[in-house]
């Protein structure tokens, strides 16, 4: 057996330290969620786990914190799911359609369409947040799922990703399909979509996480508590922690854990797809 090298130990020490820095803050949340609010208020995070998780979980999921009684954890979870899925699916469907049109058709204004779409990559929503809000307001879409999801789709990341992928698909495929008499719709549905399966999966993971984690836009667009997502609700939770006699730490910590769990699980379970998608696309 070879002796263990000193450098190898250092390497592992660095990696272990890095991993701990990543995990410990969330373990701390979990520990705080397992004790009573009084205990947290007195001592903060500790080393011993308590038995209060079921109690706090029940409070977080079924008791509302606002005035309307509508923003229970369960309801916010539902809204987050709609935002995550709606955003991911919408972006993929619209992006694939547009990319297909740009790559596979002889269009006179293809260059023009391409530049119009391309420009959207340059300016994030945060930069044009107020006018976007005004327009959504004018269209009567405040506090609706459409108002929440559609303006977020107005950037062409997915379109570019699929355009790039379609261009790497061999030319012979479409020639063969045409010889066999397949029309453009049949070629798309029967050949191109099945061929893009892995890419669709990777895109879905990235977009779901992106949509789920949206904060600024939902904060502006949803004022009704029944429309809050988990991530948007965090703002209200932290505000309620300030100034109350006995802040509901347990409930707040459980809600935060629920807010990070679905995207984290997806990223961990579909790691290879996710990493491939992320490093192949731009963001």
């Amino acid at each position: 057996m070879k002796p263990v090298k000193f450098t190898a130990i250092v390497d592992h020490l660095i990696l272990i330290t890095g991993s701990l820095v990543m995990i410990l803050p969330v373990v701390m949340l979990l520990q705080m969620a397992s004790t009573t609010d009084l205990e947290t208020m007195r001592n903060g995070p500790g080393l011993v786990f308590g038995d209060q998780i079921p109690v706090n979980f029940h409070k977080a999921m079924f008791e509302a914190s606002g005035f309307s009684g509508k923003n229970t954890g369960l309801n916010m979870l539902y809204n987050s799911m709609i935002l995550g899925f709606g955003f991911a699916i919408g972006k993929i469907v619209i992006g694939m359609m547009a990319a297909y049109a740009i790559v596979y058709f002889r269009l006179r204004f293809a260059t023009f369409a391409f530049w119009i779409i391309f420009t959207t990559l340059l300016l994030p929503l945060e930069v044009r947040i107020l006018p976007s809000y005004e327009i959504v307001q004018k269209l009567g879409m405040l506090n609706t799922y459409q108002g929440l999801i559609i303006p977020l789709i107005a950037s062409a990341t997915a379109t570019f990703f699929f355009r790039q992928f379609f261009r790497s698909v061999p030319e012979e495929l479409i020639e063969a399909a045409r010889i066999d008499g397949a029309g453009p719709i049949k070629f798309f549905v029967d050949i191109l979509v099945p061929l893009s399966r892995t890419m669709i999966a990777a895109m879905f993971i990235i977009m779901f996480v992106y949509g789920w984690n949206q904060y600024l836009w939902p904060t502006m667009i949803t004022t009704e508590e029944g429309m809050f997502t988990l991530v948007r609700g965090i703002k209200q939770i932290t505000q309620s922690l300030e100034g109350t006699n006995l802040p509901e730490y347990g409930k707040s910590n459980i809600l935060q854990i629920i807010a990070i769990l679905p995207p984290v699980l997806i990223v961990i379970f579909f790691q290879s797809w996710f990493v491939k998608g992320l490093t192949d696309s731009d963001k």
Binding site: G44, E126, S132, I135, E171, N213, Y215
Partner: protein, 309 residues
């Protein structure tokens, strides 16, 4: 490197479509319609609106607006609060970018090297990618809590009386720590995949030529990682400018007045809370110009071929 491929001029100028494309007229228009209409309504309209309102002064009670030319812009330049935010944003962006890039590079190099537990380390170091920025901010609130925050206690051991939300420097410090924590995984993933795409033959050749591991890293590995690093530099600057919004907002605890804030956060605070539409729009336009300049810079660098692959 696929990531920079997207931006390569060849991809943008040359060959928009397949040679053997379909020639149906109505179908592509139909296919493009949803994307184009969403972009026109929710991208170009608001962007144009921001440019236009930046030249107007809005009546606070909603009675029309008056054209004021460049006044909103000159007011920005004269506002000490705005300039302080600009200064903070530059420093914040530099520190967050440099720290998260270098720490991620260190971890990626080690994770690429170890044999045992490589997969576990990868998972443990990347999952924070999926944590929402405001949640990261709330974790920061706990870590730096005034009465029992573990990190606050830790700094107390060295005589540093840490006061989040009270002392300007301390709040800025917490914002940097949380932002770096949140951004490490993205950089780690890109660096690791960049490292793993270096061919084995190159590594072996380097091993023969250069005995010292550090020398090998700087002479061979690092130049090969340059395209990835450059791409990440842009991504990180964008992140520090825009995506840290949730972190800044939670750590400032809704009291932005005496706390450090980034330019993007100020657009929101002045426009949405302060109701200064013209000023906020002018700020938006300044940011748009900034992002456009960054993109032009990126194009030029890609044209000069930083990539060796």
């Amino acid at each position: 490197m696929a990531a920079t491929d997207l931006w390569s001029p060849v991809h943008i100028y040359g060959g928009f479509m397949k040679r053997a494309g379909f020639s149906t007229r109505w179908l592509p228009i139909l296919l493009l319609l949803p994307q184009l209409s969403i972009i026109l309504i929710f991208f170009y309209w608001p962007a144009a609106h921001a440019v236009k309102s930046s030249f107007y002064l809005q009546d606070p009670f909603g009675f029309g607006e008056t054209f004021v030319g460049m006044k909103n812009y000159t007011a920005l330049l004269k506002s000490s609060a705005y300039l302080r935010s600009a200064q903070f944003t530059v420093i914040f962006t530099l520190i967050v970018t440099m720290l998260s890039l270098s720490l991620a590079l260190l971890l990626a190099v080690k994770a690429d090297k170890v044999i045992k537990g490589a997969k576990t380390y990868r998972t443990l170091l990347m999952w924070v990618y999926a944590v929402a920025p405001p949640v990261a901010g709330v974790i920061g609130l706990v870590l730096f809590d005034q009465s029992w925050g573990p990190l606050k206690d830790f700094f107390g051991l060295f005589g540093w009386d840490f006061r989040l939300g009270v002392t300007y420097f301390d709040t800025a410090f917490a914002m940097v720590v949380v932002s770096v924590w949140k951004q490490l995984p993205v950089n780690f993933i890109f660096f690791l995949s960049g490292l793993q795409s270096i061919p084995k033959s190159v590594r072996e050749a380097a091993l023969i030529d250069n005995r010292s591991a550090t020398g090998r890293f700087w002479d061979v590995t690092f130049p090969l990682l340059a395209p990835t690093a450059f791409f990440l530099l842009i991504i990180n600057i964008t992140y520090a400018l825009f995506d840290t919004f949730g972190i800044i907002d939670t750590l400032a605890k809704g009291e932005p007045s005496n706390n450090p804030m980034t330019l993007v956060y100020r657009v929101y605070v002045d426009g949405f809370r302060g109701n200064d539409l013209g000023g906020s729009s002018a700020q938006s336009v300044v940011l748009m110009v900034l992002v456009l300049a960054l993109t032009v810079f990126q194009f030029r660098m890609v044209e000069r071929r930083i990539h060796y692959t």
